[in-house]
């Protein structure tokens, strides 16, 4: 493992100790299997303890792990075929959003996915997974095709946020995202959105308004980056850890808040520890929902998507007044 987090160090230390004992035992020809077994049990318990009780900030670190699988890692494992289609037909092809036609469990689907790079070079190419307006316009173009040809849409979210440079402003970043939200709300095909890493604000939301929202266990999805939140709240970006807890943005939080529908299990310590296992889990959960959604009529799908959004929000009200208003709303004015 190339990147080790502070909270993982006790595990690494114990594993190192086990390796040392094993080496010593082999070198000297002494049987220490009893000791090794005890320590291995201890390590397993420690892992369960640490990975089973991750704090929000630790999940953020896992979700942003430099080796965390990105869409291109999952694609060959999730799909029997994937034909990438490029460009928004207006300005450019945005490489922080990939899109195309894929074969999922034998069924043609349209796929839209945000892609972060794995190293600096790739990250520069993909703008660190921060899409420009042309990325969102490509997404709408391809999703419109899915609607036209009656293909389900699968979206994958992994972005720190939408691009925030002058070019993005000039080309209408806000409009591009808004148009994505509007377009998705009108489709008659199943839309399944999955957060596979970082769900950064409006830039993530643009792909997050499906009939179903799935989240990988260690992913998060937030209105604002914890660092920026800390800087606003406490004028101190080092308090990102506290902000991460306050924002309630982990997959588990979103499930509780009724925004996410189901979490997808990750291998212990995070998806990067076992790509194949994660892809298998993803495939199963997405497939389960797709089978279910395909039984619904096109109108019902659209309506369900609207009602799902409609129900998000918490407030108090004196119910009677507004109910009365709605039933009394007269058409004359």
């Amino acid at each position: 493992m190339a990147q080790l987090f502070e909270f993982e160090k006790p595990i690494a230390e114990l594993e190192l100790k086990i390796a040392e004992i094993q080496k010593f035992s082999a070198d000297k020809g002494i049987d220490l299997s009893q000791e090794v077994s005890t320590l291995e049990k201890k390590a397993a318990l420690l892992k369960k303890e640490i990975y089973g009780n991750l704090e929000p900030w630790q999940k953020v670190q896992i979700a942003r792990h430099s080796e965390r699988p990105n869409f291109y890692d999952y694609a060959p494992l999730l799909f029997e075929d994937f034909i990438e289609l490029k460009g928004d037909r207006l300005f450019a092809d945005d490489r922080s959003i990939a899109g195309g036609i894929a074969l999922f469990h034998g069924m043609p689907v349209t796929v839209i996915a945000q892609v972060k790079g794995k190293d600096t070079k790739e990250n520069i190419k993909r703008n660190f997974g921060m899409p420009h307006p042309e990325g969102y316009r490509k997404a709408v173009r391809l999703m419109d095709q899915a609607e036209k040809f009656g293909r389900p849409i699968l979206t994958f979210i992994d972005t720190p946020g939408a691009a925030c440079d002058l070019g993005a402003e000039e080309r209408g970043q806000g409009e591009a995202i808004a148009r994505c939200l509007l377009a998705t709300s009108g489709y008659h095909v199943p839309v399944i959105s999955t957060v596979i890493g970082e769900g950064g604000s409006g830039g993530a939301l643009a792909l997050g308004v499906g009939n179903v929202l799935l989240m990988l266990e260690n992913s998060f999805y937030s209105v604002i980056a914890p660092e920026s939140c800390a800087s606003i709240l406490w004028k101190d970006t080092t308090k990102a850890k506290e902000a991460a807890a306050a924002l309630k943005f982990t997959a588990q939080d979103l499930l509780r808040l009724g925004v996410a529908d189901e979490l997808v299990r990750e291998p212990q310590g995070g998806a990067h520890n076992n790509l194949h296992q994660t892809a298998e889990e993803l495939s199963q959960v997405i497939s389960k929902y797709l089978v279910r959604l395909r039984l619904e009529s096109p109108e019902a799908l659209r309506d369900q998507r609207y009602q799902k959004l409609r129900a998000i929000g918490v407030f108090q009200e004196t119910a009677d007044i507004n109910n009365m208003l709605d039933s009394d709303v007269s058409t004359e004015s």
Partner: protein
Amino acid sequence: MFKDIFRKTKYVTIKSGQNLDRRPSEVVPQEEPGIVTKKELPDGLWVKCPKCGEVLFNKNLEENSRVCTTCEHHFRISATLRLKLLVDEDSFEEWDADLKTQDSLDFPGYDEKISEAQEKSGMAEGVLTGRAKIEGVPFVIAINEAGFMMGSMGSVVGEKITRAIERAIKLRLPVVIFSTSGGARMQEGILSLYQMAKTSAALGKLAENHLLYISVVTDPTFGGVTASYASLGDIMISEPNALIGFTGPRVIKQTMRQELPAGAQTAEFNQEHGSIDLIVARNQMRPVLARLLRYHQEGARYGTTV
């Protein structure tokens, strides 16, 4: 006598006033898409125009719809003043005034923030919604309140706007939304973020029903509001010099280490880049909206019988 003193100041300032920074000093565009900063409305007897430096009597400023009498700089105005300047007298019927904010995430300091904002703005939340008339033409209106946590959108704002749009569909009325907002409200986390999707989806329904939506984007509009209802107008209107964008200028400068050209993110910049149909001075807003609303009245639609 006071007036004379101020007049004097005026000439001095005009001669030396080559500061073309279009941003009033009290305007603090939000730092992050989604976030909110404070701003004090100028109070007291007089106020200095942040654009031309002219010292103006508050009373004169009020009489001129809070537009500088010298340089036509548009000061920010409250939702209630906006309403008063715009709609036919006594035509406004407010909706959903009883929706109350709930600190659903138990977010540090949120309750206090809400109380402060209520006290400061005199409003229960960050948007005023209802129906009204302009020159006798009925329509549904929503106006963000900049004085309430910078017009940020949490559950209540999103819900009120969505309900207003849904009622417009029932009543077959056009919708006009005046936005001014720092974006989605941080303190309600993911729930705020999804108000963007909720309001946009409602506008989708409005569009399917062939009903007009005019978005009037006023100073400042950023973040999640720009990335949802504010950008989806059939007709996009702004006021002169209003700052409009997705990412706030400070964040662009900080994160991209990129200097913004003079005038970036103004209404004029947005119009030049194709995002805004019309820039309408405040005192022309009522007649312009009246014309547009009239041309979209039900009977005007080809193929409909009146």
